[in-house]
Amino acid sequence: MSEPCSAIPSENPFALTPLERRKKAAARRNQWIMFGFCALLIIPLVLILVDIFWKAAPVLSLDFLWQNPVNKGKEGGLWAPLVGTFYLVVGSLLFVAPVGIFAAIYLNEYAREGWVNRVIGITVTSLAGVPSIVHALFGLGAFVLGMLPAINRLLADPARPETRWEAGLLTASLTVAVMNLPVIITSTREALGAVPQSFREACWNLGATRWQTIRTIVLPNSLSGILTGIILVVSRAAGETAPILFTGATFFKFVADSGTAKLFPYGIGEPFMAMSMHLNIISNQISQMPERMKFGSAAVLITLILAINSLAIALRVWLRGRKRW
């Protein structure tokens, strides 16, 4: 048995023992290994971004955003797909935000805990992991082949085929909304769940109804978390190609170059152009597409999504700063 005190050198009581030296070396080595893996993740990402923006540089300008694509996208800009993506995002939010938020409020604040609630929770989480192409097929079946004929039977004039609604903004928005519904429900439930239960109980003890409690305490203190979830869903809606592939997006649609028609180019029953779809087609379907056009579109789409995600991060930081308990 070694005497612990005798192990300390008398000249310097703080000198490292061999064991401590080995531990320190191991800690340093492990830190470098972790750093290596982190670099492995970051370096390709940076290289990809640099490559894209380098090759896109010749076309990047405000005009590139403001002009319509010309000659199958080989010339001109990105206005028509950009504005289509904007309306797709807005349209899908109009459906997904109220449905998702109210469903999450019901599940979190009203529904009794029990196996039904648990099964619904697990189902919603699993749905969030379903590939977007599956949602696309669901959208095709439910909205394009199911809902549109019903609408046309009611509203369209059989004698005038141009009054018929086609797969377009409405059906694509609904499909993207369905795809994002589980994400919104999950993120909203998380935001609501972050409000301590003791606040609710304090309100109930004062005779406040469930709704009063939600309106005055729960929602004001979870709003920023809910918003963050919505913003992340926006970037997903803007970036995904699969769900709009069969449900309303098209490669080319004539869009006016000026006037209000330029700002509102698509009817809700008309096919529309979208950024993700446009990039997909010009990258691999059109021969002799100039590189700068492909990379220019990619750069714009990436910037758009990075900007949206940064907004979400900024919101999260701001929210952490003004936490009220």
Partner: protein, 254 residues
Amino acid sequence: MSASPPHLEFRNLSAYYGTKQVLRDVSFTVPRNSVIGIIGPANSGKTTLLKTINRTLDFIPGGRFTGEVLLGGESVTAMRDPNALRRRIGMVFPLPVGLPLSVYENVAYAPRRMGVTDKGELDGIVERCLRQSVLWDEVKDRLNLLGTRLSGGQQQRLTLARALSLSPEILCLDEFSIAIDPVTTMRIEEVLKELRRSMTIVLVTNLVQQARRLADNTLFLWRGETVELSPTEVAFSDTPRDRRTYDYVNGIFG
């Protein structure tokens, strides 16, 4: 003789969480404007007993009770609006809860939900309740501070102020002084002696001496059963009805 019914009456009250029984056949009455002290070790069902009065037991998954709880002769389970019932009963639970609102809005919360919008009236309620909970002097200059930023003891008094904001007819205090310093506790106890003129007080406490100071009657609950229910002088005398009460009060229980 047709005496008015006791303010609060428990008849054969048994309470359960799922299959676990936490109160067994508890019966007692609380006369109007009296103070009942409820003492007993942890897990005796004291808090559950309070939750049967304003039916917040409903909010706990699996929580339910049998028997009857009568408020002024009327069964609480027969009342159609449990929120109206809850407004008649002030509740202070041991964990201090400052709502994430200003101190002012914490106290004004319940009156506002009742439709009080007049600034002068709200100001009056806020000042009265904060004075009654002995918090006024500490917060009168910073009523806009978030309630959650107060210290634990201040939040507990804020909870008390909130409970008083609707002038309840029954005030239930569950370990209200757990985070409050002894000097302030004594001042609140003085206020409680005033308040009992207008309300009936149910005082759950681990400080047996607090029950002795304040309560007219003392109930000793142990493992969900009534061990002793006597006038406080009897419960704290050398010869209470049950030997276990003497042991508990004198710290030789177990």
